[in-house]
């Protein structure tokens, strides 16, 4: 609780004896229970479906889950088993690659799109809205259409595009060499329009007179972007990186639907591995340990980014 709230509270109690009768004042400020009554539905649901499951995950991660026999306390055994497994190490590596690739790709493409589509004109608004559609489309739909685009024969759509620029057809999601990159491309395709909208909003704050000043000094478009636009966008880019990094750690649906971690585990990410451990291989303790590690990594990353931002500011 904040200090100002304490002070406020003490002031109220001081005023009471000499002030109007307690009942009236209670009614005017609302009883102390009123805010809690308004908060109750949200807090109860959070307790039941967020905090209790998290507590349960922590508990389970230290136990060997045995149906009908009762759970057994095993200490850090689940964590050891998980961290030392090749599957998990591979999944962490793939998650990092995918996260970094998608984040960088979306940011770069989003920036280019934003530069091309900046402005107030109606048709720019139209193009931006059309380009934004992948962001609102359900992931399941996107995965299905990209499976079709990635059809591995020579007449698959993505392969036809390759043939226009004189490249050999690829197996895309069906080959261990290209599966992770194929998933990444889908992520960039879906992430870039989102980044574009945020960057377009950030571009509004760029001081336009600086463009003119730099043009008078003889700077071309590239220099204007490097020395005027990019520095002004720094806070926006920091936020986009944060959001993308945190989202990247828990990537699930697109990988599950496009490759399900395959072929041969070449695109397995942490969440698809946890899903398999928990729901297919029934190793609930190890899966819970994975969830706890993922949570810890998310919290650590968030705090790290917050700290570094505060230090700079």
């Amino acid at each position: 609780m904040s200090d100002s709230a304490v002070i406020e509270e003490s002031r109220k109690s001081e005023r009471l004896p000499s002030g109007p009768p307690k009942r009236r004042s209670g009614r005017r400020n609302g009883g102390f229970w009123v805010p809690w009554a308004f908060l109750a539905p949200a807090l109860v649901l959070f307790l039941m479906f967020k905090f209790i499951p998290m507590g349960e995950a922590v508990m389970t991660s230290f136990q060997n889950v045995r149906p009908f026999l009762g759970n057994q306390w095993v200490g850090l055994q689940n964590y050891n088993a998980l961290v030392s497994s090749d599957d998990f190490q591979g999944a962490v590596w793939h998650t990092l690659l995918l996260g970094v690739g998608q984040t960088a790709g979306s940011l770069l493409l989003g920036f280019v799109l934003a530069l091309l589509l900046e402005g107030q004109a109606k048709r720019l608004w139209f193009v931006r809205s059309a380009a934004f559609l992948p962001v609102v489309a359900p992931m399941a739909v996107i995965a299905e259409v990209w499976r079709i685009i990635y059809h591995p024969t020579g007449d698959g759509i993505a392969n036809q595009v390759l043939s226009w620029i004189a490249l050999e057809p690829s197996q895309w999601i069906n080959s261990p060499d290209s599966s992770l990159v194929s998933v990444m491309l889908v992520g960039i395709w879906r992430g870039a329009p989102y980044d574009m909208i945020i960057i377009v909003a950030g571009l509004v704050s760029v001081d336009k007179s600086l463009y003119e000043a730099s043009a008078l000094d003889g700077a071309g478009p590239l220099r204007r972007i490097l020395y005027v636009t990019l520095p002004a966008l720094r806070p926006v880019i920091a936020i986009l990186l944060t959001l993308a990094a945190i989202r990247g750690m828990r990537v699930f649906t697109e990988v599950f639907l496009l490759t399900n971690g395959g072929p041969n585990g070449s695109s397995e990410v942490v969440m698809t591995l946890i899903y398999k451990l928990g729901f297919e291989r029934n190793q609930l303790g190890i899966a819970a340990a994975g969830s706890v590690l993922l949570f810890a990594a998310t919290v650590a990353l968030t705090l790290l980014i917050q700290l570094s931002r505060r230090r700079k500011a």
Binding site: A5, A140, L203
Partner: protein, 288 residues
């Protein structure tokens, strides 16, 4: 060359015809790359061709055959499930968010800081991280002990409280002048009355924002229905797409019908609210 710039590339102000032509080509390319695949889904749902390479922006052999096959594969049931989940889920999500935001934005009370912290903390606990324990909690809900596995309620209840929408609403409600509320109280209106007839009506624009965000969020749900629905009768449309695709007897067309039905509601919701949606997105990010 013009010396006034309203963008880094000064595209808008430049009037040289060849630059304009390049611009229009680029815009067309952007639309084809980003909206094209989604338009191709809808076009494909209406054509008879079942060849994966024939996905095209121009309709070929238009027909409704895919739709009649899709009806046999109970696509309407999946659509119905999705609509029930999003309808009930969104209604309660908005109500719960508005209630919580009212307390957080308009009241000074002991423990407000803690309540705010709890809401913020939930943002770090997305369903992906909680999938495994959540499935156990849903099979034996705390305090009540009901089993929500394989029920639509199991997909609805966990999405009702959503920290993001509570925070968006709280930010908005802070802007409403306090005098409005005080005037209502002096006129003798009670808490609920003040809330429903004074505060809520002033928040209609924000209701549009949390409504369209909530809709997209619930409609896009995948992992939660996946762990809840054990029986195909309970599948939502996004889940059903995968089983339709895996069914060797139905062609690509039926998957495309399902995808079209799953795609259109979110696209329509976005197009209706696009201004507030994109502004909400942008202001949240740029401010934060």
């Amino acid at each position: 060359m013009s010396t006034s710039f309203d963008s880094a590339l000064s595209l808008g102000t430049n009037s040289k015809p060849w630059i304009k032509a390049i611009n229009y080509c680029l815009w067309a390319l952007i639309i084809i790359v980003f909206a094209g695949p989604l338009i191709a889904i809808i076009v494909g749902a209406f054509s008879t061709n079942r060849d994966p390479s024939s996905l095209s922006l121009i309709p070929q052999q238009p027909s409704l055959e895919n739709f009649s096959t899709a009806l046999d594969r109970s696509v309407m049931l999946y659509l119905g499930n999705s609509l029930v989940v999003v309808g009930i889920g969104l209604l309660f999500q908005m109500l719960v968010s508005v209630f919580a935001a009212y307390a957080l934005a308009r009241k000074k009370f002991r423990g407000r800081g803690i309540a705010m912290l709890l809401v913020l903390a939930t943002l770090m606990l997305p369903e992906e991280i909680l999938a495994i324990p959540l499935s156990r909690v849903l099979s034996d809900v705390p305090f009540i002990g009901v089993n929500l596995i394989n029920t639509l309620a199991g997909m609805i209840v966990p999405v009702i409280a959503w920290g993001f929408s509570i925070l968006v609403m709280t930010e908005f409600m802070k802007e409403v002048p306090m005098e409005l509320e005080e005037a209502a109280k002096i006129d003798g209106a009670g808490e609920l009355r003040t809330f429903f007839s004074v505060i809520l009506p002033t928040c209609t624009p924000a209701l549009g924002v949390i409504g369209v965000f909530g809709f997209t969020m619930i409609w896009d749900q995948y992992l939660l229905p996946l762990i809840v629905a054990s029986d195909s009768n309970m599948f939502t449309l996004p889940l059903a797409l995968r089983s339709l695709r895996a069914d060797p007897e139905v062609g690509l067309g039926v998957v495309l019908v399902g995808a079209t039905l799953a795609l259109l509601p979110s696209v329509i919701a976005f197009l209706c609210f696009q201004k507030s949606f994109m502004r909400g997105l942008a202001s949240g990010a740029v401010k934060g």
